[in-house]
């Protein structure tokens, strides 16, 4: 019985090895070798060029800002949603989560339409006799796109964490003399930290590595590290350098994964609706 069940995971394990583990090792291999197959650090050192460093730093700054703003926006929203009466909640929460399931390209496309030189926002501003905003092709537009794109990913895990809190635990804090403010900071917020961490990772990693958002909202003027790597593969065709740069990027991803692992819990819940 046991043995038979174990065999069932065979195809799955083979798949995981062939298309998850080995491909990742391939990146390591390409990243640490040159075109002749000899070991080298030079691909990684390629990250040091001023243009690439600029892209990496900009990516880090923008993704950190976007993550922080998502957190600031999503937490109160999650609180409000979790306080709603049972019947209404399901529907309203769904409304705020739905955008998460929409094609992210479309969402960014929508913002491009809004922010363009003659886009909807500027048309409205002109109509109101206000000065135009030239946001498109600037880092601001990219940050805006990141926030818009990833807000639901921050909302859901925090909302789930809040929903899991037993109302009696909150009541216990009041009962022991804490006011609303103390109850929030001493009990509610600490209990949602796993959700917050999960949300941060789910926003930070995609924001750090995106190339679509910067392609659509940054034109070719603002490059992120995602664009740099993508171009290495699809335009330059230098897989060794591309892999080397990816390895550097993976270090940052690993750091955030390690943080997440530390606060374990709620990994799956955050993602599955």
């Amino acid at each position: 019985m046991k043995r038979r069940n174990l065999a069932l995971s065979g195809p799955y394990l083979v798949w995981t090895a062939a298309f998850i583990i080995i491909p990742l090792l391939m990146i390591v291999y390409y990243g640490l070798t040159d075109s002749t197959g000899a070991f080298t650090w030079s691909n990684i050192a390629q990250m040091g060029t001023p243009e690439r460093m600029k892209a990496l730093v900009l990516s880090l700054i923008l993704s950190l800002i976007a993550t922080a703003i998502c957190l600031i926006m999503a937490y109160p929203l999650a609180l409000i949603l979790s306080h709603m009466k049972a019947g209404a909640t399901g529907f309203i929460v769904t409304i705020f989560i739905i955008p998460m399931w929409m094609n992210s390209l479309l969402r960014i496309l929508a913002w491009q339409t809004l922010l363009e030189r003659n886009g909807v926002i500027n048309q409205i501003l002109t109509f109101l006799h206000l000065p135009k905003l030239y946001l498109i092709n600037t880092p601001y537009a990219i940050a805006l796109g990141m926030i818009y794109d990833f807000l639901p990913f921050m909302l859901l895990p925090i909302y789930n964490a809040l929903e899991k809190i037993d109302q009696n635990v909150v009541n216990a804090a009041y009962d022991l003399g804490a006011n609303r403010f103390q109850t929030f900071w001493k009990v509610i917020f600490p209990l949602t930290i796993p959700g917050v961490i999960s949300g941060i990772t789910m926003v930070f990693v995609p924001a750090l590595t995106t190339f679509v958002i910067s392609d659509f909202l940054g034109g070719s003027k603002v490059l992120l590290i995602g664009n740099v790597i993508e171009r290495q593969f699809t335009q330059v065709g230098d897989w060794n350098v591309g892999s080397g740069l990816s390895l550097v990027l993976m270090v940052f991803i690993l750091i955030s994964m390690a943080v997440m692992q530390h606060y374990d819990k709620g990994i799956g819940e955050g993602v599955v609706l």
């Binding site: 635990v169 216990a172 022991l176 804490a178 001493k186």
Partner: protein, 379 residues
Amino acid sequence: MSTKLIDLQHITKSFDGQMVLDDLNLYIRENEFLTLLGPSGCGKTTTLRILGGFETPDAGRVIFDGEDITGLAPNKRQLNTVFQKYALFTHMTIAENIAFGLRIRKKPESYIKDKISYALKLVNLDGYENRMPDSLSGGQQQRIAIARAIVNEPKVLLLDEPLGALDLKLRQDMQYELIRLKNELGITFIYVTHDQEEALTMSDTIVVMNQGYIQQIGTPEDIYNEPENAFVADFIGDSNILNGIMLQDKLVSMQGVKFACVDTGFGINKPVDVVIRPEDLELTAIPEHADESSEEYQRAVRRITKFNPGFMTGTVSHLIFKGVHYEMEVQSGGFEWLVHSTRMFPVGTKVLMSVDPFNIQIMNKPASEDEEAVGVEDI
């Protein structure tokens, strides 16, 4: 023991149009162990939550120590609650949990430290300061919840089915523990439970509730021995409840047989509910071959009618060994009687059933359909 510490006056509360408490009046004395007892949905937990400040009554007042606290927030009240399923702060250590209320009140750290070790000793968990709540068993978590509440020196401790999640043996141990704690602390306990045995073991006063009404208030002995209506009789312990007619003072008829009893003042030929506890029924076996005219039968009848002229004949239809006693069902006159006895009567035995007049409890029929939660015929 005599001053009113808490006075609930005309409390009414409904949720979504559903009446949960209807004009409830109840006072609680200082240093009393009072239990709110009733089936789920009877309003006992709502009453406790109104006391704790987690619900506001639609009408009525809560008087605490002479002051109206009806609208006072929970964090301003001098009572503390031990919640169902403990409600410990899982992200804090045991010591931090216990210190929570004291730190809010900005007590000095040295005082807090003393209080923690005092409280942990009191609940027999010294040395657990740095453990996390998740690493403790249910019974231990419950003790921590109590410790967390009592370090704040409340005048009243509210306990909401605190033992509900524990297994039987632990529950019994904790009952003694709670009585000991109450005596050591000298404060008022208000306890909510649906478990009648818990209520009988621990309380000074039991308030039996059903469907938002108080059914009876009394000492455990009163409630058990003299239930005021069929609901209380049925809810507290096992009982046989059947229709009877009070023929005159001290004489009741059930199933066409006249029984002596001790109750008076019901009037003449009045329909009543009659309650007889299973352990109060006396059984006498009649040999298979003995018919009513036989000498053996007559001798048995003479012996039992010395106490009460009324008796019934029946046949044992069911027998279970319960450890201390046997539980039997006796078919008689179309009614299935529940009988507890230390003597065993095998299934099929013909028996005479008699009962001491003192052990027959007569109750008025409920006035309204509302109060009659348990149909007498169902039993």
